[in-house]
Symmetry: none
Subunit: 184 residues, 4 copies
DNA sequence: CCATAACCGAGACGGTACGTCGGGTCTTATC
DNA sequence: GATAAGACCCGACGTACCGTCTCGGTTATGG
């Protein structure tokens, strides 16, 4: 949707997509840390400058490469029972963060954001927060920032910090606690 | 307590400390991202190899430089009222993660851990988790991994992900919810 | 005459020349032994990799920096009298090897060649041998490899090994001996 | 023959010899260029400081390790026929410089001497020059520095500079020329 | 016979150059 | 004017060797 009208060759959407595909591939092949702008360009069969024309950092291009996957992976179909609905979401979230390439990308970006203000800015409209809020709303639970934090925070922090994520049984007890408290 | 008994000149504890001090300084002066092994060595007035002799990565030396501060900063004196006790801890935790140099270091390390298994291993015995568990125990609350996650997870995740940490009022409501649920 | 036709930015002849100039300067300022690839790059105001792109060793770049001077310095105008012609050449050769920067470079390269096969290969088409052969030919003397060795060998060896080079009187006697023997 | 009489442990002649042996070994195993003071010490099973106590540079210790071999290898038994005597010496000299480890060491030292004044000083009393002078004297030929240079210079320069040393036939013609000229 | 002092091995120390790699910019020819 | 290619400057990487120093331990002499 580049609205340039001036002279000259327009930017190649094909290039853009090649680069994003290359990032996807490299993420699973070499991981985030070993991924370089140079490597992305070569993998995509693209000049280095072309990458910089669209995005200025590794984090930006990675975000764009994965952002669609974020929404898709975190979209869980509703369940009539609120408890099951919330539990389903948290299970999907755990799987996403632990195993999926886009989840790994998300964690890597979250990591960069801790010592890079620019990356932090990119994550301002966090896909995780908004998807969790949606689930809370459709189950009639509170969905303010505290509620969202109480809902996903324990899961997220355990994945980021702990040696192992919360297991399904723990997730069930977590949901129970929240639902009980919110209904009171 | 380095138990070298072999021959040769012993390693200089003085050098070790100079390096750790340099890391402390550089953390506040240039930040984690701009800190390099080269820079550390030069700042400490030490040969580069001497740094590598003690630690092999930036993360390792940073961890050791800050690990004492972690424990110190996260130690909050007990309050007779459990609610006040827990709240005090969470406030201190928030301050620590947002503002203190060691807290910034902790976040940076947490970030690295997301795409570096070696760093993750370093953080296996997480200072945050253990200090939080201690506070929970002394207030008579449950202190298993789920409870700890429920306690600090929302705070932590909001700091790591969100645009702003939970404010004191939200923290108070969070503590109330947990205490109510746990007492039931 | 680099016959690149491929794509990409062409190598900068300007850089090449800056580097060669820097080598020339450093040779007289700090000498061969203290000359480093790092120092050359910095002196030339050039990235280190740019030096390595053109030449892979200190010896190679030094050779290229001086090879033109070699030919120039060792070119002595002909003298009608063969004895004077030969003597003039040997005097010039002595001066070249003892005092001129390019001569010092030549000796340094000769030295490296003794324990570095790659440098030896660089000196395969020796400028000294060919210039001496030319002088011998124009005076009607034999110019095979033995004759060249007999002509310049004593001068060269005395410079390389001895405490002092052959003085002009000795050079005169040397030329007389050779001319007498060759005429017989 | 260190004439110390004071207290303290005397220097170990055994160490000295171990070091010299190590240098001999390393010379043939890794060559001069790859030989380091560190490597010598380790090979000799000796502290680094012990090497420095006896010699201060690689060149010094190498010279001492080989100097005895120099004299030995360059000593050729006399032949009643002067031409054969001189020829025998030059053949031995060529073999020495081309093939023998001590000969290779000599060339390496000669090389260093071209850009290191200290090494040059070490070679002031050149073993090659003096042995050649001895041979000239015993055949009744002139033995001043010019004569020595005329005798060995062509051989030496061809070894140092040329692609190949003078072959035996060339050496024979060289000797003939000199003897003829000197007898006249 | 023991104190002194120089030696010994080992290896850590501050430096410095190595050759490589990635970052981000630029300059070509080509499209 | 966008593109692929790739050279450019810069600076950090981790390693190697330099020559010095500091250990514990050894071995002679001299008080």
């Amino acid at each position: 949707m580049h609205t340039r009208n001036g002279p000259g060759r327009p930017r190649s959407e094909r290039c853009r997509q090649d680069i994003l595909d290359a990032v996807d591939d490299l993420l699973v092949e070499v991981g985030y840390a070993a991924m370089t702008m140079k490597g992305i360009a070569e993998r995509a069969g693209v000049g280095r400058q072309t990458v910089y024309r669209w995005w200025s950092t590794k984090a930006e291009v990675l975000l764009e490469a994965c952002v669609e996957d974020f929404a898709e992976e975190l979209t869980v179909e509703a369940h009539p029972d609120p408890a099951q609905d919330l539990l389903g979401y948290l299970c999907a979230l755990t799987t996403f963060l632990i195993g999926d390439p886009p989840g790994i990308a998300y964690r890597a970006l979250l990591g960069e954001a801790q010592h890079d203000a620019a990356v932090r800015e990119l994550l301002r409209d966090d896909p995780l927060t908004s998807s969790a809020a949606a689930v809370l709303r459709r189950t009639g639970s509170p969905a303010d920032s505290l509620a969202v934090a109480q809902f996903v925070g324990p899961v997220l922090s355990q994945v980021l910090v702990g040696p192992a994520p919360l297991d399904p049984e723990a997730l069930r007890r977590h949901v129970d606690l929240l639902l009980t408290a919110w209904r009171a």
